[in-house]
Symmetry: C2
Subunit: 338 residues, 2 copies
């Protein structure tokens, strides 16, 4: 039996769910000859009450946090301190499991070489527990034509309430009361969270060098939507959704996030209500659909745990393409932006 | 640049599609430092016309076929000769990529140790190019509760024709004329092909020892269905579909294939018309849906090529669970069998 010392950064919703999940998987790790042991838990504020979190393992001191660790799990979010700790772990040669799409999207210049080397596992960063990264990694035998997803549940919720007649201000307030909004709500309603995710997907499927600034430049949120716009779209057989897309342009691959009109029978409308959904178009495979929950502590923790399995069973992490995918000859049909 | 010598067994629909696809991926393999070279192609009958297949590489002699090969790709089908060649390759330590669900289902006793060692890649064996194996491998952080799929397109086609009023005999004849039926049609309409696939899925998700004989014993086909049965189901808000399932029973995990009544709004009905679809239920992730084409030369070849990438980039193959998954405390709701 080999003991694996886990360094956990972050003990919020996802971290706490992971701590609940880990003991139920002990037998399965033992069947692989592994004994998982929590070494230390790094948090910003040690005094915050955290039910179920072993207090004696908590630290707020990044220095020494990785001492003796075999694996870093980062579920703290943010790009500053998380970036320093993740990069230190990678520099030490540790495999890293992270759910942090902001970090992956925005600090790719520093992370890319480690991702290419297979040390970075991040299934949980896009669509939480719905395993789209694992699926996309099996699609290398295709030429990617386009990818479209509904990957931010908070925006879906607000749009659904607009469809039901609520004003944007009402729907936004409700989402806040339900705990759906990030501390900085522009991450959700400004489309930034979706942009982070499409950036992660883009480097896996179309261009390892896809630049965050370019995706950010092509990102629009939902704050201008009104119940009237939704009603009119519906009357014409359409639905408005915030869609994150990858598609070819004469200048190369584009990543973009914006509200678009989709036919009501489009799989993203059919499947993407109340959950996340992704449509992949490739040659020769054609059109694929993946759908499932895209948020929630337990849901996200299940993907983090799946990545811990991956890392500990010798599987390489989520590696980006070695070079940009060739641009398809035919332009993809564009959706109508609203 | 490292040269990889590929031994290809089978040059039918999938093999020919793979030979078409390979040259278009040369640049991508080169970006990984690899040069793919076709060493030999093993076929049953060398004299058969095969457009696009380099005749000088063809052989009908299994002896010496693997000499100097770095990787075996088996897309011949069947369990006898394919089994001998695959086992010989594995014994030589070669990675093997196969689309052969019959072989995996029926000769698991001999193959299992090699699958556990990560030498066996078989994404194409279930739902062809729709990457469900890659997705399911990322779900280890969950306790699997149940899995249900529509995984045989020929049966879906026949059932659709019954819904449209055709008799079974008419629908069966049409499927034959369209080239949808296997040489032995009981593989399709007897549910055997679906049973092979659920067996493969079961060993990855619930029980590495899932026995083919047990799954076969619980397999029923569609030959008894009539337009009347389909009509009546529809009038009551249901659709009849051939569903392959994994679910817990007091005796352990069960793999089964049978026509069942599903509510018309069930995702397998919504998504599984004209293509394959799979619903995974797990804790804590909840319910996931995957859908895409489940047949076709190019579609299947894309998954074979994806597996070649996997194998050559040092990823282990599709490894079964190390031990049976714990049985969920609550029994899954059963569908009504017809």
């Amino acid at each position: 039996m080999k003991t694996i010392h886990l360094a956990l950064m972050g003990a919020g919703t996802v971290g706490q769910a992971l701590l609940e999940l880990l003991p139920t998987h002990q037998a399965r790790f033992q069947a692989l000859g592994l004994e998982l042991k929590l070494a230390r838990i790094l948090v910003r504020d040690r005094s915050k009450p955290r039910p179920g979190v072993p207090a004696h393992l908590l630290t707020d001191e990044p220095k020494g946090f990785l001492e003796g660790a075999d694996l870093l799990v980062e579920v703290a979010g943010g790009t500053a301190q998380a970036g320093e700790v993740v990069l230190e772990a990678l520099a030490r040669g540790l495999p890293v499991v992270t759910a942090n799409k902001a970090l992956l999207a925005e600090r790719w210049d520093a992370l890319r070489e480690h991702a290419e080397a297979g040390r970075l596992h991040y299934e949980a960063s896009v669509m939480a527990g719905t395993p789209v990264l694992g699926a996309l990694q099996s699609l290398w035998g295709n030429q990617t034509l386009a990818l479209h997803g509904i990957v931010n549940g908070t925006c879906s919720y607000i749009i659904q309430r607009l469809e039901e007649g609520a004003t944007y201000a009402e729907a936004f307030a409700e989402a806040g009361a339900l705990g759906y909004l990030e501390a900085d709500p522009t991450l959700d309603v400004g489309g930034i969270d979706a942009a982070h995710k499409i950036c992660v997907l883009g480097r896996l499927t179309v261009d390892p060098g896809l630049a965050w600034a370019e995706v950010q430049r092509r990102t629009r949120g939902i704050a201008h939507l009104t119940p009237q716009m939704l009603r009119q779209a519906r009357a014409e057989g359409y639905a408005i959704r915030l869609v994150a897309s990858l598609y070819p342009s004469p200048e190369g691959w584009v990543g973009a996030v914006r509200p678009v009109r989709l036919p009501q029978e489009h799989p993203l409308v059919q499947l993407g209500s109340g959950r996340n959904a992704l449509v992949y178009q490739g040659h020769p495979v054609g059109s694929l659909v993946f759908a499932g929950p895209g948020a929630g502590g337990g849901v996200t923790a299940s993907a983090v745990l799946g990545d811990i399995y991956r890392a500990l069973s010798g599987q390489p992490g989520h590696r980006p393409l070695p070079a940009p995918a060739p641009l398809p000859a035919q332009p993809a049909p564009a959706f109508e932006e609203v």
